[in-house]
Amino acid sequence: MSPEIVRHPFEAMGSRCELLAVDPAPGALQAGEAWVRRAEARFSRFESHSELSALNRSSGAWIHVSHPMLRMLIAAHDAWTRSGGLVNAAVLPALQAAGYTRRFAEGPTPRAAVAPRPLPPLPEALEIDLPGHRARLARGCGLDLGGIAKGALADELAPRLGANALCNLGGDLRACGEGLGPGWLVGLPNGQTVSLTAGALGTSGTTHRRWGDGLHHLIDPRSGAPARSDVAVVSVAAPDALSAEIYAKTALLLGSESGARFLRERGLFHIMLREASA
């Protein structure tokens, strides 16, 4: 019998997710979905009992964090460093001020009356005590792990699905192996298809999760307001999904000229789509 791709689609983290594998072990993809749901319960800012919500409520106090949370917070710091400060997980107050206070499907709430302010640098907002397994958020700060979590989780889950598998968490995807050969075939937002072997693709954009003129979920930490970029969508291929996510978001925030230069300097395959009005 020739090898076949088995797919397992589901909704999680407010996004379409899909797990694929070539001839997976029985139950492997279902176990993958359960793993994603446990991760969502830990990292979602919308779940009042999540570990992230507990951290966001901790208001200046050191609190114990689990090993998975510790790794995610380190990933957030890594994202901040590699993006030159543009991918800043301490974005929650700015998102809430813009009206994104609850699950997107539940609709926006009115914008805050106060003017947006630049975000604090992440190392000032979030301290990590590695040996003590503790973290402290500065008063008034809050985290939204959003795309960082999707990328990092895709990286962690893909190899658990099998040696020849692909994990797609809301467009942040990580491949192991090469599908049916010579790679996993992945569609890009511009209609092209690429073949991906042992790597990742990430997409960032302002075309979804919009709720009004200039209101969307991508906050520019330099202003604290939704980004005003001439780029609508960026997709980036990288060895891992967290890197792809970081670089795609950074390029979008930098705009078409600086963003393309940023990606070229790192030797990364990418596509960019302009805003219709740009």
Partner: protein, 62 residues
């Protein structure tokens, strides 16, 4: 000797693929920037053109 020949072949194939796909990307009107770098040093990661095959999944804005 054989390893050197294989390496040369790999470089040639990479250049051909890069060039071919670079043209394909450039022919699409919407992207304002595109590039192809199939291999990054030290990683088995490869991205290359799909040659008209349909995708099995998508990357998208979520």
């Amino acid at each position: 000797m054989r390893a050197a020949a294989l390496k040369s072949l790999s470089v040639v194939a990479t250049v051909v693929l890069s060039t071919a796909f670079g043209w394909a990307v450039a022919a699409v009107p919407k992207p304002v920037a595109a590039s192809l770098h199939p291999r990054l040093a030290g990683s088995p990661f490869v991205v290359r053109p799909a040659n008209g095959q349909p995708p099995v999944t998508q990357t998208y804005v979520s």
